[in-house]
């Protein structure tokens, strides 16, 4: 049978596409249900098409407030983790010194630890110090767990950098600051950008660590969590859809610019 033979030959492609469908399916459901008009409190069954939620995305109390808070925390956590992480990455790749191994494991451990364990231990610290849970404790926690990921991303890029480029700059009488600004930073920038993007996404989406250390402060994931019990407003689907569309658009535009630049360079 030719059909069977075709399936056998393309088995991997079919299986891969099925996995892709499995991954995208919830996003499609979120999108479709952002146009729903649920009868009860829960938005789990399709009732009727409506644009109400799209017209009034902030119509639910505290929703946009929590979204703004999450964006603010993610922004500061990104800045903090990126600055600290980039410094560590440079030190680890560029210099030989004692305790390198210990530092490498200190950076690896937060990534290899179940999140609840980290979240709970941080809470015991804050409780023992008598710290007031809220914006600052969440920000501290986010910088802590994003740091390792930034270090890993930047390290990968800096490792593939040719140190002779910096030597050449110095031979041409560039000072250390000038060398960094004109040579080192531009080359490392894609790695730093990748680390920053990762930190932003991780911080914005974090639930477990925030759940433990936020006190009564409500970030966007915590709002969604709370609404799962009380009844999810359709607006949550609107925001989920918007986030998805914006992210895809940003990545695609970035890709487009990158390929255009590459083809221009070839000319």
């Amino acid at each position: 049978m030719p059909a069977l033979r075709w399936i056998r030959r393309n088995l991997i492609v079919i299986a891969g596409l099925l996995t892709l469908a499995y991954m995208i399916l919830p996003n499609i459901v979120v999108m479709v249900f952002s146009f729903n008009k649920p009868k009860g409190r829960f938005n789990y069954a399709w009732q009727q098409f409506s644009l109400d939620a799209w017209k009034d995305p902030c119509g639910v109390a505290d929703l946009c407030g929590s979204l703004g808070l999450s964006l603010r925390i993610a922004l500061w956590a990104t800045i903090g983790a990126t600055v600290l992480g980039t410094m560590i990455a440079f030190a680890l790749v560029r210099y030989r010194f004692r305790a390198r191994g210990a530092i490498n494991s200190l950076i690896f451990l937060p990534m290899a630890m179940p999140e609840v364990v980290m979240a709970a231990s941080l809470l015991t610290l804050f409780l023992n110090m008598g710290a007031e849970l809220g914006f600052w404790t969440v920000l501290i926690a986010h910088i802590m767990f994003c740091l390792s990921f930034v270090v890993t991303a930047v390290k990968a890029r800096v490792m593939s950098m040719d140190p002779r480029l910096e030597e050449a700059a110095r031979d041409l009488y560039a000072g250390p600051v000038q060398t960094f600004v004109r040579v080192t930073f531009p080359i490392a920038a894609p790695g730093i950008a990748a680390g920053a993007l990762l930190a932003f996404a991780l911080s914005f989406d974090d639930f477990i660590i925030t759940n433990f250390n936020a006190g009564s402060t409500v970030t966007f994931p915590m709002f969604v969590w709370g609404s799962a019990q009380r009844g999810t407003p359709v607006q949550i689907n609107v925001i989920g859809t918007a986030m998805f569309v914006i992210a895809v658009a940003v990545v695609l535009v970035g890709q487009l610019i990158a390929t255009r630049r590459k083809s221009n360079a070839r000319k």
Binding site: I103, L106, S121, M144, I246
Partner: protein, 307 residues
Amino acid sequence: MSVTDAPPAPPTEPKIRKPSTRKRLIPYWLLLPGILWLIVFFALPMVYQASTSVQTGSLEKGFQVTWHFRTYWDAFADYYPQFIRSLLYAGTATFLCLLLGYPLAYLIAFKAGRWRNLVLVLVIAPFFTSFLIRTLAWKTILADGGAVVDVMDTLHVLDVTSWLGWTENNRVLATPMAVVCGLTYNFLPFMILPLYTSLERIDGRLHEAAGDLYATPATTFRKVTFPLSMPGVVSGTLLTFIPASGDYVNAELLGSTDTKMVGSVIQTQFLRVLDYPTAAALSFILMAVVLLVVTFYIRRSGTEDLV
């Protein structure tokens, strides 16, 4: 840590600078803020948690360190079903992630051609819709009387899964199957990306060589591709298993009281019951178990498959 007790730069005479000393200290200054952050907010909390786990007392009277190690035993005796369940669910989800993720990673690495970037974007993009929203979407997908359950019912798959104990009473939601499905879904990208990275590094000419030596595609995969992708398999399984074993979001949103995982227990003890010693002991047991499983796994994969 030798970072913190590194001597500060000695104030030598300003005119005769010693570039060698100054240069030697640069890495320490670069490391200092970040490492200090990790020591204060990652390592120190672990110490505090260790001390909390051997305290006794109550919230009203206060907690004292009494070296009460029994808490560990009591916590384990009370909650071992949740522990076993967590490892079981996380292990199953990891296996399913490998099973589902491998073809997709393979597709991106070798078959996608000019679609490669688009498929990669589609793998990463779901990340940007909050994972809680996506997990809630599974409630709709697996809902009673929904399309998925109907199809499973008509094909008599539900009878088989119920017999195996994965589903109950002709429903999928609030059963182990729903929780494992959610876990698999949520951690799939963590499997696919390392797999893709290690597959992409494989030289395509190796496949041609295997073909020239009369290897069938299946043999080529078994003898060439899969062994060479082992680093990705190992890091992918770790990146999936570790977070999955401590997760409580999927169990809470998609499961029932019979599918609670250990993360749920820790969260409840810490934030609602306020029994800090038990919660601290539980999270240390979880950490120890995960470390044990991971070490065993790395050893095994290191000696047998990575050679």
